[in-house]
């Protein structure tokens, strides 16, 4: 191996063997579109930039790349960046998540709740 490639990080894939390209088409689900919109909002409001999104995605490592879907990784990174930029605290996040969970698992349950 060339010495200059020592220390190459997992996401820096240019020139590596990649195998065949998967050209399956699929639509995005509603929550995935919301994650995408959330990123645009966060950037527009100045909480963090797409560079921060990428930095956390890279730091999540190759295992996350193999086990989580594209937007699952995005929402994890967006959350990390929002905590780092002071948009909310982990405690506030936990309280909100518990509230949302209490509404029920489906839109039907949630609409019948308070």
């Amino acid at each position: 191996m060339d010495t200059q490639t020592d220390g190459r990080r997992w996401h820096d894939m240019g020139g590596q063997d990649a195998g065949p390209i998967c050209d399956n088409q699929h639509d995005f689900s509603l929550w995935e579109k919301r994650v995408d919109a959330l990123m645009i909002l966060c950037s527009g409001k100045g909480y963090f930039t797409v560079d921060g999104l990428r930095r956390v995605l890279e730091d999540m490592g190759e295992e996350a790349f193999e086990t989580m879907s594209y937007y699952e990784r995005w929402i994890a990174s967006i959350n990390q960046n929002l905590i780092e930029s002071g948009a909310y605290t982990t405690e506030e996040l936990a309280t909100k998540m518990a509230k949302v969970e209490a509404r029920g698992e489906t839109y039907g349950d949630a609409s019948l709740g308070k």
Partner: protein
């Protein structure tokens, strides 16, 4: 925050350059496959705030972004199917160094 200072001297179009052969940890915007490779400045695009600082939520100085042109044979060596094909990549000034006599082929 004020206007960030523009850092790094601009490289003239056609200048022979090398992408710095460094491998730091952290968020880096120069792909590994080009580090240590030689090419020429194709154009200066525009200055942008350094994404390697923005990635950590830090105030960032502006660095010039260049389009750098590489010969496939110089990048992939014997693996290049068409060694005279060109690859162009956008690289920030702080990752670029001028070729001097000790580097020239």
């Amino acid at each position: 925050m004020g206007t960030p200072a523009l850092v790094n001297d601009p490289f003239a179009v056609g200048t022979s350059v090398r992408i710095r052969p460094l491998m730091p940890p952290g968020h880096v915007r120069a792909p590994t496959y080009l580090r240590g490779k030689t090419g020429t400045i194709e154009r200066a695009i525009a200055p942008f705030k350094n994404p390697e600082q923005l990635a950590y939520g830090l105030p960032a100085k502006e660095h010039m972004l260049y389009r750098v042109r590489f010969r496939a044979g110089d990048v992939w060596d014997k693996d290049a199917e068409n060694p005279d094909d060109m690859i162009e990549a956008e690289i920030y000034a702080h990752w670029i160094e001028k070729m001097d006599q000790s580097h020239a082929a």
